[in-house]
């Protein structure tokens, strides 16, 4: 992968400045606004024996999860709509109706039914509260056992998805327009930014893996590459319009992997299927080979799905954990170390955002290339 032609010197300097800016914001905003609210919430229902210990795991997992409200700054949240498909049809109301409560203590009555929110999931409320004032039945592992309506809400991840669609459309429609107006001339503006990366996808990802039939798959590869890259970068921004963990959501990566899977099996030629169902080995070996090859069809997209999901999720957890060190040691003197580490990891995460988009695209191209390869 030779990216040197992608970034010239000026772009490099811009990227450094942008990285530092991002790192600065990613350090200040989650550390000082969100942790405070979480700590305040933790203190509010602390056990009478003393202050509850700060739990890094719980905090990090809460922040990478999807949410029905979007924290902006301080006590200001954007309350996103909740849309439920219940036994009595569609019901919708604002998530503000739960009054910031996430412990099933506030019951919302809508459409003749009662709902509670418990750990960002909507449940049908119980008739009476339990010993802790919660309107859910809990098993011994503190998981709610109430029935759940089908949740079609516009959550934080859905909003981020829409934002990224708008960004992609704005960028690529203007790039496409650039090729019409500047026909035969050198690219201008945003087109000049995008052209080297599009050529990089074509020359370094599509051509080596797909051969002469690469043009059919360029739209898919470009879409997947820029979708993943833009969303990884949005995930690095800790405030609006970023902050959600879209490519770290396994449902999103699953759909992307399924797209690659379907392209692979529908474009597979006879050599590909022969390789799976009638490999060139002694017939006795087929007992072993065929099941292994069939499992191989499915493990490839599953590995794609988990690779992207786990990489991005691990990156987010790492950033949050480094910031949380300040609160675990409960000392201001640990802050410079923790911030220095977070800046360093943040810079690496920007690289990972690109590399994961690249890896997903090149592996998709590789799998499709294996399926359409002509026999020599």
């Amino acid at each position: 992968m030779d990216c040197s032609h992608v970034f010239d010197f000026k772009v490099k300097r811009l990227i450094v400045v942008f990285t530092l800016l991002l790192a600065f914001f990613s350090v200040t905003s989650p550390a000082f606004s969100q942790v405070d609210t979480v700590e305040a919430a933790a203190n509010a229902h602390a056990e009478p024996e003393g202050k509850e210990k700060f739990d890094i795991g719980k905090f990090a997992l809460h922040h990478i999860a999807d949410s029905h409200s979007w924290h902006v700054i301080g006590d200001f949240y954007i309350q996103l709509p909740i849309i439920l498909y219940t036994d009595n049809g569609l019901v919708n109301f604002s998530s503000g109706a739960f009054l910031y409560n996430d412990d099933a203590k506030v019951v919302v009555e809508e459409g003749g039914q009662r709902f509670v929110k418990f750990h960002e999931k909507i449940y049908y409320a119980s008739e009476t509260a339990n010993a802790h004032g919660q309107y859910v039945e809990l098993d011994e592992k503190h998981h709610a056992t109430n029935a759940r309506p089908l949740d079609l809400s516009v959550t934080k991840n859905v909003v981020t998805l829409l934002i990224s669609i708008v960004i992609l459309l704005v960028v690529f429609l203007s790039v496409a327009k650039g090729y019409k107006t500047n026909y035969g001339k050198s690219p201008k503006g945003i087109q000049a930014w995008m052209e080297p990366i599009i050529i990089f996808v074509r020359d370094d990802i599509a051509k080596p893996n797909l051969g002469h039939k690469y043009e059919r798959f360029m739209p898919y590869l470009l879409t997947v590459f820029f979708f993943i890259w833009f969303n990884n970068m949005l995930g690095q921004i800790p405030f609006l319009p970023g902050g959600a963990n879209l490519t770290g959501n396994i449902a999103v990566t699953m759909i992307l992997a399924i797209a690659t899977f379907l392209l692979t099996i529908f474009n597979g030629n006879k050599y590909y299927w022969k390789h799976i169902f009638a490999p060139d080995v002694p017939k006795l070996m087929w007992i072993v080979m065929i099941p292994v090859e069939i499992v191989g069809i499915f493990t490839k997209p599953i590995a794609l799905m988990i690779r992207l999901f786990a990489n991005i999720t691990a990156g987010h957890i790492l950033m949050l954990s480094l910031i949380c060190l300040i609160f675990v040691f409960n000392s201001l003197y640990i802050a410079p170390i923790s911030i220095a580490f977070a800046v360093f990891i943040g810079a690496i995460e920007l690289l990972v955002a690109f590399i994961q988009a690249f890896i997903f695209t090149i592996l998709s191209a590789l799998f499709i290339g294996m399926a359409i390869e002509e026999h020599h």
Binding site: M1, D2, G57, L61, D204, P208, A303, I306, R307, F309, A310, N311, T313, A314, I355, F358, I359, I362, L363, L366
Partner: protein, 70 residues
Amino acid sequence: MITGSIAAIGAGLAAIGAGLGIGKIGGSAMDGIARQPEAASKIQTAMLIAAAFVEAVALFAVVVALMGNG
């Protein structure tokens, strides 16, 4: 008192394995580039793909550890 889960130890062991694997891939790529600097871009691409396969194993372990904790 030690608290935590066996899953976390497993994730650590997987990290050792993936570290060894990626270290070997990176080292070999360095060797290759030193011998043939003109092939650097091709070697880098191949290196990243191989590293992604090794890394996936460690990431499976991370996912299992997360599930074990949750």
